[in-house]
Symmetry: C2
Subunit: 343 residues, 2 copies
């Protein structure tokens, strides 16, 4: 342990919770009562309540060798916000449950919390409760996010219709390439105390992996333009898996055009460097937290005007199946397990 590190046992469970949550001021009118009782209390007038939960386990979802705890806290919160935006809602509260093993100090958990609080600050969300407990091994983070949406604006996965346009925000595959890069440098650094990782020119990939953002701006823009998508999902498992969720639940098929998939140049350079197939990374990499949605065909012009949204294909009748159209016009079926034909 470095200097100034405090063992959690010095504070105890109640002390740690008090220490971490003492200065939290509630911002939203819907947050009636925060940390400190058996439950948090919230109240949404005239709106529906959205609930989503995510469980992150050390060694499965994150590697603390290269993930700073503050970034981890930020990401853990943001991926939950993303699920609320994917319903066209507004995240308003989170409750945070942590399982903490003996190797973590008070300062570690402070760093994690500072990331969670920063995300809450930026996205206008209140931290209203949680649970803190011991873990036999590793760090466990469980966040439940609660948000609001008016009934008329909620977007489900099951509303896509034949001929709808398929739209995606931002670009895809960068978070996955960031992970490959971090893993490569981790292996290269093994045993070297003064190792300097090679991230020059690849900062965007690292940021997309370590500090993703949820597309609050896209939800706001669609709202401003009066557009309610016919279906929407956030891309966490990868474009291929997630468009199939929409197709399966909407009872439709789809065509995605390879040359339409938005990819950043850093992602392309990294794929070449690692000798990986770029489209596979964009289709199946996951952790993009971009919004994937469908709108009626007649909204074509309206959608094209929105910066940062790209039309990548269209919905078809169910019997046509779900496929990627490659640059040379070949049709390759999309599969939920990942599209492995080019890998």
């Amino acid at each position: 342990m470095a200097e100034k590190e405090t063992e959690i046992s010095q504070l105890g469970e109640f002390g740690l919770i008090k220490h971490l949550t003492d200065n939290i001021a509630l911002k939203n009118q819907s947050s009636i009562k925060g940390v400190g009782d058996d439950c948090a209390i919230i109240k949404y007038d005239n709106e529906e309540t959205l609930v989503t939960t995510d469980l992150l386990m050390e060694g499965i979802h994150f590697d603390l060798t290269y993930v700073p705890l503050k970034h981890l806290g930020y990401k853990a919160a943001v991926v939950n916000f993303s699920d609320i935006y994917a319903m066209n809602g507004k995240p308003q509260q989170i409750v945070v449950a942590l399982g903490i093993s003996k190797r973590f100090t008070v300062e570690h958990i402070e760093a994690l919390y500072s990331g969670i609080k920063l995300a809450c600050e930026i996205y206008g969300v209140d931290l209203v409760g949680g649970d803190t407990t011991s873990s036999r091994a590793g760090l466990t983070i469980s966040i439940t996010c609660i948000g609001s949406a008016s009934k008329e604006k909620i977007t489900y996965r099951n509303g896509a219709k034949d001929s709808d346009l398929i739209c995606v925000s931002g670009d895809l595959g960068a978070a996955y390439m960031g992970l490959q890069l971090l893993e490569r440098e981790k292996i290269a650094s093994a045993g070297q105390a003064d190792f300097q990782p090679q991230f020059q020119g690849k900062e965007y990939l690292i940021e997309r992996q370590l500090k993703p953002e949820a597309r609050k701006d896209i939800v706001a823009e669609l709202d401003k333009l009066g557009i309610v998508p016919t279906s929407m999902i956030d891309i966490s498992d990868g474009l291929s898996s997630d468009i199939l969720h929409i197709c399966q639940q909407s009872n439709v098929g789809c065509r995605i055009y390879e040359d339409r998939i938005p990819i950043d140049y850093q992602t392309a350079i990294m794929a070449e460097e690692l000798n990986m197939n770029l489209v596979t990374a964009a289709l199946n990499g996951g952790e993009d937290y971009e919004l994937l949605f469908t709108v009626p065909l007649h909204m074509h012009e309206q959608i094209e005007k929105i910066t940062g949204i790209k039309i990548i294909g269209h919905i078809t009748k169910l019997e046509l199946g779900s496929a990627l159209i490659t640059r040379d016009g070949a049709e390759i079926p999309l599969t939920a397990q990942g599209w492995n034909h080019l890998s």
Copy 2:
């Protein structure tokens, strides 16, 4: 693995979730949309929304050597319901996040889910969502429960007033004695294939530890009689810790009378057998999930008529501190860390 066991990898994450949640019908009007989209959707009209979360980690909160998975699922759900009742609310929805290591099969998770579903059935709660993921080691269960309460009836920890009566439901210390018994039999059974644990005459203790119930009935009874407690908490950490939560947040002191603490005879017999102090077990054992609440002094007669509720002391001014009055009239300060004077 025994026969008929199915590896989780055969179904995959999406397959497992579908398998576990396919036949769930929503019971409550407030449950608009359950499992299957980015979020669950709920709606409470004119009522406040209560939110509570609990994280249970294998090796810390449960030992699968003697805890059947179905019981574990039941208990994991019920302890969350208990937090909602402790606010004088009605639990209505849960979301369940599981972290599952490789040693668990589909049948194991089915057993766990069957317990969660049984608890939902009995308490009228809907399972509306969740997350299922891998874990490097052991089982992690994170449940968030959402409930409703009218603003006028919510009971906080901070409303206790000088001279209020302190009331408790059921009896205390039995779950703790059940745990001691299970641990004793675990040690006794080590290495013996045909070991028969000695539980005769101690069934109540085992049940209190493995299959606790939340006091829905007490909340209903108080409502029927038009009684809104001035403060309320559920006893999860032990009477001593939990009355101190009320006292600290209400800025008051208290007197608890040793001879008034309700204790079952099986608990008393077990304490003698193990040569443990009975009152210490009742004060600090925890996991009772009984309701601890305060009411104004003038409700004395009304409260005494309710079966299963006992008046165990009264609230005092802050400067008098919080203490236990022993059978011989001695005053012993209560402490949050547990009252160790008699142990």
